[in-house]
């Protein structure tokens, strides 16, 4: 199937990515050894979001379970841009799949610096813009309103030839934000990010998470994600990477049928490190059983009920 399928012109062996921040390929290799590379679970690897400066992340506790889901307040710990480029990038370049680097800036300048620096590395196939943080210049969450999103994407678009994926904030169920990203030059959008949620400490009765609130993910949010993916896919013509609670091939198929070009697996990786592979296998099986043909370009680019994704755009 190799070469038969692509996302924004980058050939992928299949449509299953990971959600940013839900799989650390470097730590996984320490744990599972080189078998990880042989059986790599995703068709493209999305890095955890990086920022200009190193970040320690939020104080623990950072996790609490909820019914069919997880609430996290990780707080984007990362080595910062130069730590990433020198420490992580060489290792991520050894992965057998294209690399997507997720970046977040607290101003358009920061975002621009990240995109420019990451974009010039050959090892990087695509860049994902995580715009879920408040812009220190305007005070608005970058990805929360159409104009702010368009300004952020427009500012960084000239800085790289690499495909840009804009990861929408969950409040951006409003498809106007996705349309604004498309208009400003995004090559794809991805969604959903986590929903704001809270849990109390059973003993102290105060918020459990060190940061007070966190982001809800997992099967609990799947219906919300599916609705948002369907509505965004119907209003843009760039490819949509759909995620939110995908735990099986059937779930993945739901997102593809709702208009996604690719899917990403997040929380399910925590329950099953090889979830990406299993889901890809299950997806191929349900596609074969129920459609009479197997996954591949036709399947993912043409058989969607709404807004076919603009695949095949070339990278440069």
């Amino acid at each position: 199937m190799s070469g038969a399928f692509d996302l924004c012109g980058v050939p992928l062996r299949g449509p299953v990515l990971n959600g940013s921040g839900t799989f650390d390929a470097i730590a996984a290799r320490r744990t599972f050894g080189d078998r990880l590379l042989e059986e790599f679970p995703f068709d493209a690897f999305v890095s955890k979001t990086i920022t200009i400066e190193p970040r320690q992340g939020n104080p623990p506790p950072r996790l609490w379970e909820s019914p069919a889901g997880l609430i996290n307040s990780i707080g984007l710990p990362n080595k910062g841009l130069s730590g990433f480029l020198s420490g992580d990038l060489p290792q991520l370049a050894e992965l057998p799949v294209p690399l997507v680097v997720s970046v977040m800036g607290f101003s358009r300048d920061e975002l621009g610096a990240l995109v420019a620096a990451v974009g010039e590395r050959d090892q990087v196939a695509m860049i994902e813009l995580n715009v879920s943080c408040p812009n220190v210049e305007t005070g608005l969450v970058m990805g929360a309103d159409p104009a702010e999103t368009a300004a952020a994407v427009g500012a960084v678009r000239p800085l790289t030839d690499k495909p840009l994926i804009v990861k929408l904030t969950p409040s951006a169920g409003d498809p106007a934000v996705a349309a604004a990203a498309e208009g400003a030059g995004a090559d794809a959008v991805s969604l959903i990010n986590t929903l704001r949620g809270m849990a109390l400490d059973p003993r102290t009765r105060r918020p459990w998470l060190g940061a007070g609130t966190g982001g809800l993910s997992g099967p609990a949010v799947r219906p919300v994600a599916l609705a948002q993916v369907a509505s965004v896919a119907a209003s843009v013509s760039i490819p949509v990477v759909g995620m939110g609670g995908i735990a099986s091939g059937r779930d993945a198929l739901d997102f593809l049928d709702a208009g996604a070009a690719c899917v990403a697996v997040g929380t399910e990786n925590f329950r099953d490190p090889a979830a990406g592979r299993r889901i890809a296998r299950e997806l191929a099986a349900v596609s074969r059983n129920e459609r009479g043909f197997s996954a591949g370009r036709t399947r993912f680019s043409q058989d969607r009920p709404k807004s076919p994704a603009k695949v095949g755009k070339t990278v440069k």
Partner: protein, 272 residues
């Protein structure tokens, strides 16, 4: 000294239950893991969930739970010691014949043990924290002296797991001495003058006492810490403990940390 980490097969696997028996206040689970390595390192752990009925009725648990292995029998059987403290451990404590567990591991880095055959080792276990001390004691044999502390005699039945004699304390004096295991440790260190290395696992306040006692006496100590884990292989960044070098993920940089790297073993989110 290379990192005491045995690599895990990639992905989770089904491990059929071999036995689930009561051991005083705890339960001892034995599962068949023919496809896993037979040589995990003491202090490493596994993520476990039941294959059926995990998180039924729309409630927790959702992610798997972390457990130190207590013993890896060479024949592919793993033993875990469990204390029921919430929905996950309760469900695991009820697994019955014919059921299987989802299992991922071995995970993390275990205790770093000096290879010098003359080195002396002091193993300190508190409560359910005795689990990784069992296999460490097996490995060290006569070279490892074991101090154990429990709340009551019912909990102290876990001491019967040890093949080598162990000093025993309980909070209420219902078995062994009426004392905290950290008192045994303090006395033992003051007696010998502090040459041995200490390896400890137990509740956060005990680990913090161990840390402080060893720090005062300049005794090297390694502590097996606990925090809430979702994945166990470094994917979620949830299981962090604050160290002198910043936050570290206990599932990939631990769960065993050098006490010298910690300001305190008591931190928000420590323990279960």
């Amino acid at each position: 000294m290379s990192e005491p980490r045995t690599e895990a097969p990639f992905g989770r696997r089904l491990a059929p239950l071999e036995a689930n028996r009561e051991l005083g206040a705890y339960r001892l689970l034995a599962v068949r893991d023919p496809d896993g390595p037979t040589n995990p390192r003491p202090g490493q752990f596994y993520m476990l969930a039941t294959a059926e009925g995990w998180g039924a009725d729309g409630e927790r648990p959702y992610v798997p739970r972390a457990f130190s292995y207590a013993r890896a029998r060479g024949d592919g059987t793993l033993e875990f010691l469990l204390e029921a403290v919430g929905p996950g451990t309760e469900r695991l404590g009820r697994v019955s014949a014919g059921e299987s567990l989802w299992l991922t591991g071995p995970l993390g880095v275990g205790f770093r043990v000096a290879t010098d055959p003359k080195a002396r080792h002091l193993l300190v276990g508190g409560g359910i924290g005795v689990a990784p001390i069992v296999c460490l004691s097996d490995e060290l044999g006569e070279r490892g002296e074991v101090l154990l502390g429990f709340r009551t005699a019912a909990h102290a039945e876990a001491a019967t797991l040890f093949d080598h004699p162990a000093a025993l304390a309980t909070d209420d004096g219902s078995a062994g001495r009426a004392a905290l295991v950290t008192e045994l440790l303090r006395e033992r260190l003051d007696r010998s003058g502090g040459e041995p290395a200490v390896y400890a696992c137990g509740p956060p306040p005990m680990l913090e006492a161990v840390r402080a006692i060893c720090a005062e006496r300049d005794v090297p100590a390694q502590l097996a810490l606990e925090s809430g884990m979702a994945c166990g292989f470094g994917a979620c960044f949830g299981c962090v403990a604050p160290t002198r070098n910043g936050y570290v993920r206990l599932c990939v940089d631990g769960p065993v940390l050098d006490a010298a790297d910690l300001d305190s073993a008591l931190f928000a989110g420590a323990g279960h």
